[in-house]
């Protein structure tokens, strides 16, 4: 997920990210280049999903990332996630009811570490390690019955490939080095 310049690194990262999300929705990712080194990507609007049992879910996925010099290769550039939010809702006739959300937003809250909100247990920030979007997508399919957009062999291959890339490239997994 590195690149020879900032834009190429961002494009490579967004390619992986969009491919992962394509396992559950055909809705493309929306991205905004705030500066040469700061990008914001999200599902806009949050994507509606059908479950195998006929239910309706909604997912909101938001990722903020910076691009900087790759510490392991000064000639290349690398993406670093700065914030993420992965939210799952139950869609009802009255609106969307939040089920859970995985958050890491160290600059926007008193809680700097990655955490999980569970709607039925309000006010608790359950500590987590860093959660990758591949695990969130896998959970939605596996446990909430979301209908994938492709064959099982295809979505599992994408999620495995992209999670492997995340594991290889992520600069931290449990708590951020500056946390």
């Amino acid at each position: 997920m590195s690149g020879k310049n900032e834009k190429e690194a961002a494009d490579n990262f967004l390619g992986y990210f969009n491919e992962t999300i394509s396992c559950i929705t055909s809705q493309p990712l929306t991205a905004f280049r705030q500066s040469k080194k700061l990008y914001r990507a999200y599902l806009n609007p949050p994507a509606g999903l059908q479950t195998k049992s006929g239910g309706r879910l909604v997912v909101s996925i938001t990722q903020v990332f910076g691009v900087g010099q790759d510490p392991s290769d000064k000639k290349r550039f690398k993406v670093r996630t700065q914030h993420y939010s992965y939210v799952l809702y139950q869609a009802t006739d009255e609106g969307n009811e939040q089920i859970l959300s995985y958050h890491w937003h160290p600059q926007n809250s008193a809680v700097h570490a990655p955490h999980l909100h569970v709607a039925c247990v309000p006010r608790v920030h359950f500590p987590t390690s860093r959660v990758c979007v591949e695990d969130f997508v896998w959970m939605i399919i596996q446990y909430y019955g979301a209908q994938p957009t492709m064959k099982k062999s295809e979505w599992t291959a994408i999620l495995e490939k992209n999670k492997k890339a995340f594991e290889q490239m992520a600069s931290w997994k449990i708590s951020p080095p500056w946390g």
Partner: protein, 81 residues
């Protein structure tokens, strides 16, 4: 300028004007303030204690909004413990 869909990656790139409109609509719906006011309030720390349990969607709004980056990539902070 309308959103452009990149043929290469399938990403829809939006402009600053489109982001501002999106933030304005969400801020009015969630908090009853304009997008401009939301950003000003956020910079002033007025929502520092507001969390998703108090106002579902507010964290996502803050992540979408073009707020300035407060820390450079990879810059280390001192650990509190």
């Amino acid at each position: 300028m309308p959103a452009l869909k990149s043929k290469k990656s399938g990403i829809v790139w939006i402009t600053r004007r489109e982001v501002d409109a999106l933030v304005d609509a969400k801020a009015r719906r969630l908090l009853g303030v304009s997008g401009e006011k939301f950003v000003a309030n956020w910079k002033a720390g007025k929502y520092r204690k507001l969390d998703s349990d108090d106002c579902p969607g507010v964290i996502e709004l803050a992540l979408i909004a073009p707020l300035p980056r407060q820390m450079s990539v990879g810059k280390k902070r001192k650990r509190s413990r």
